[in-house]
């Protein structure tokens, strides 16, 4: 899921602060039936460690004490990281920080992991395993949002303080301005961006398009600064929202690409270590641990995305594990070959050892090449690939070729209908999106074969090449 951090999903994720108390009451109600509580002097004993503590308000599910609650969340994070080889000692990790609770926790946990690695490094005699590096990225979208630039400046200052406090080891903060990273080298980035968004008539389409731009910016920051992993704080709630909204948008085929732990479609692979943590728990942890978040930066999702969020929030009230069930359902769909960390790029000993272990499993997996939509990077399904093939073999115009290369969903909700608007849209597109389609059209012959399995060059490789050319 190319969604930056936590706040893209509204209601499934509580933004923190004001909304918490009423949720807290719900937890306490549930807790009373679950936990072993001793009524005398109001202290409760944690059902896990047995330690008696003063009750938290609001308190975690199951009546856990703060330490056990933290440990259980960190455990989920760590399991996701290790089981999917997200971070290895030689890596340089960029954490996307939106200011919301999910990405705040992601940042915190990555930091703790780094501290531990540092401690081990200092204590070891041979110092064979290096400590992975961590950086933080924040995308300034003030040019196209209702937030004033003063507010953003203040937020950036506060984020700077947060990042500064998370040292040692020292972390660098990269602030990317959306328009300048999307339209590198052009002076009128701001106008281009608002012009581009103006050509998209559908509210939901615009919302999704912003998400794709955000991902491009994050990739650019990561590439320019030598990072080889991008950590997003997408939590269970975000992913559940995405499952439903992708289904509603007709993206059933590409859906499994977006809901895994790893998304290797990008030059810098994207990882989702908080995939198994519900936003409710992440917000609670921020509150209990006093982790500062930037609530006013929340991007309220609109159109269908907003509707899905409120629908899920309602379902969640009826059954608190509904989000988890939805993500589990989506897990039954077959992931794509790019949904894992690429094998070739890590060269340390541990990775080599891991590789050997993974090899037997890998051989069985057939290598399938996928053609990716230049706008949203979704793999095209069979009918989309076939109609693309038909269009490309009929000497299409530039616009026709581009439209044919985009997925069904982008064609309907992002690409403008009128040809005049379409030309505007196309001419304003950030270069990587345009290049992806252009290059594929010029590599017509070789690429047409790619639609069918059995040809070596995959869509992912092509896309990676393109992204590197651009930067």
């Amino acid at each position: 899921m190319a969604c930056n951090g936590s706040s893209s999903c509204q209601s499934g994720c509580f933004a923190g602060g004001d909304e918490e108390p009423e949720n807290g009451e719900i937890h306490i109600d549930r807790m009373s039936s679950l936990s072993v509580s001793t009524p005398k002097d109001g202290r409760t004993s944690c059902p896990k460690c047995g330690e008696e503590t003063a009750p938290q308000n609001p308190s975690p599910d199951g009546g856990l004490c703060l330490a056990c609650f933290r440990a259980s969340l960190f455990g989920k994070f760590k399991l996701a990281v290790t089981a999917n080889s997200m971070i290895s000692p030689s890596d340089n990790v960029l954490v996307a920080f939106s200011g919301g609770p999910s990405s705040r926790v992601a940042l915190q946990f990555v930091h703790e992991m780094q501290c531990k690695a540092q401690k081990n490094f200092d204590a070891s005699r041979d110092r064979a395993l290096p400590v992975f590096g961590v950086g933080v990225a924040f995308i300034d979208e003030s040019s196209v949002s209702s937030i004033t630039s003063d507010e953003v400046r203040e937020a950036i200052r506060e984020i700077g303080v947060i990042v500064l406090e998370l040292a040692p080891p020292v972390k660098e903060l990269h602030v990317g301005v959306l328009e300048s990273s999307c339209f590198a080298g052009s002076d009128d980035g701001r106008e281009r961006l608002s012009g581009l968004l103006g050509t998209i008539g559908d509210v939901t389409g615009r919302d999704d398009f912003m998400r794709h731009l955000r991902m491009l910016s994050l990739q650019k920051i990561a590439l320019e600064n030598g990072y080889n992993r991008l950590v997003l704080g997408s939590c269970t709630s975000n992913i559940a929202c995405h499952v439903i909204s992708a289904t509603v948008k007709g993206q059933g085929y590409s859906l499994p690409a977006d809901v895994q732990y790893v998304d290797g479609r990008w030059e810098v692979p994207v990882v989702f270590p908080l995939r198994d943590c519900p936003s409710r728990e992440l917000s609670l942890l921020c509150q209990l641990d006093g982790l500062k978040t930037q609530r006013f930066l929340d991007r309220p999702s609109s159109g269908i995305n907003g509707l899905v969020s409120s629908f899920l929030a309602r379902l969640q009230e009826e059954n608190p594990s509904r989000e988890r069930t939805i993500v589990r359902t989506a897990e039954k769909l077959t992931p794509f070959s790019f949904n894992k960390i690429p094998e070739t790029e890590s060269n340390d000993i541990l990775a080599a050892r891991r590789r050997r272990r993974a090899q037997s499993a890998k051989r069985e997996e057939s290598i399938h090449s996928e053609v990716l939509c230049p706008v949203c990077s979704s793999p095209l399904d069979l009918s989309e690939s076939q109609s693309l093939k038909t269009v490309l073999s009929s000497c299409p115009t530039r616009d026709e070729a581009f439209a044919a290369h985009c997925c069904h969903s982008c064609n309907l909700q992002i690409l403008p209908n009128e040809s005049l608007k379409f030309s505007d849209f196309y001419s304003l597109l950030p270069q990587p999106m345009m290049e992806r389609a252009k290059d594929i059209a010029s590599a017509n012959q070789a690429w047409l074969r790619m639609i069918y399995p059995g040809v070596q060059l995959s869509g992912k490789h092509l896309q990676r090449q393109l992204v590197s050319q651009w930067f």
Partner: protein
Amino acid sequence: MGCHKICRECFYSVFEEEIHRAIVDNNLFKPGERVAIGASGGKDSTVLAYVLSELNRRHNYGLDLFLLSVDEGITGYRDDSLETVKRNEVQYGLPLKIVSYKDLYGWTMDEIVKAIGLKNNCTFCGVFRRQALDRGAALLRAEKLVTGHNADDIAETVLLNILRGDIARHGIYSPNAYRGFAREFIKDLERIRPRAILDIIRSGENFRISTLTKMPEQGTCERCGYISSQKWCKACVLLEGLNRGLPKLGIGRARAVKGPKKDVVRGHTRPETQRSSLESKQCGSLDF
């Protein structure tokens, strides 16, 4: 369809042509077949009855069509809808057969309610209704059964399956609160983006389901021969309880009961043939 503004006459012809295409492209019928049209008196089945009789005439399908209605035996409940179905019988010249729960199971719903009280009788009604059309069609020696399931119903099924964790399954009868939410959600969606219904179906058709995904096993009930994943089908379990004076038998823990094995969705064509179950309908909804 739907996006363009067209006049009434053109709408009719486009609509009918679309259904004709769906029937021809999917080889739904063979000439000479006896086809039962599940008729509830609601809009979907009324439209279905009209269009099918019209297309049968116009394109010479050569089908022997008749209307099939189910009477649960609830005093005063079916009167209106049965009146509508009787009108359809005259209007479209299709013979009407009404099968009652009494014919099929030996019990009317009124008798069941008397035996088990007002609670839990929804289970009986739902399970019995799901099989009633099938059993009725078999009773009348029909080769095919068509129901008026529409695109909205199928979209709802796709969504509900995701919400409850069944990507490749179809059909546990469970009247839950989220079903109501899901309906409302679909209505809201349609308001923002009418195409969304068809997009949901598109998603359902395109899901990459691994061949390793466990599909529910399909067998037949040892007692009545109806499709069942268990030794006895749910209706037989419930009937056994009723007949032995233990009406609570088989209620609760409905997890083990599985519907017929099917793909997630069938496509958005209006008439659905063959053994279609009605589990996506809310209890009390008469539209089939």
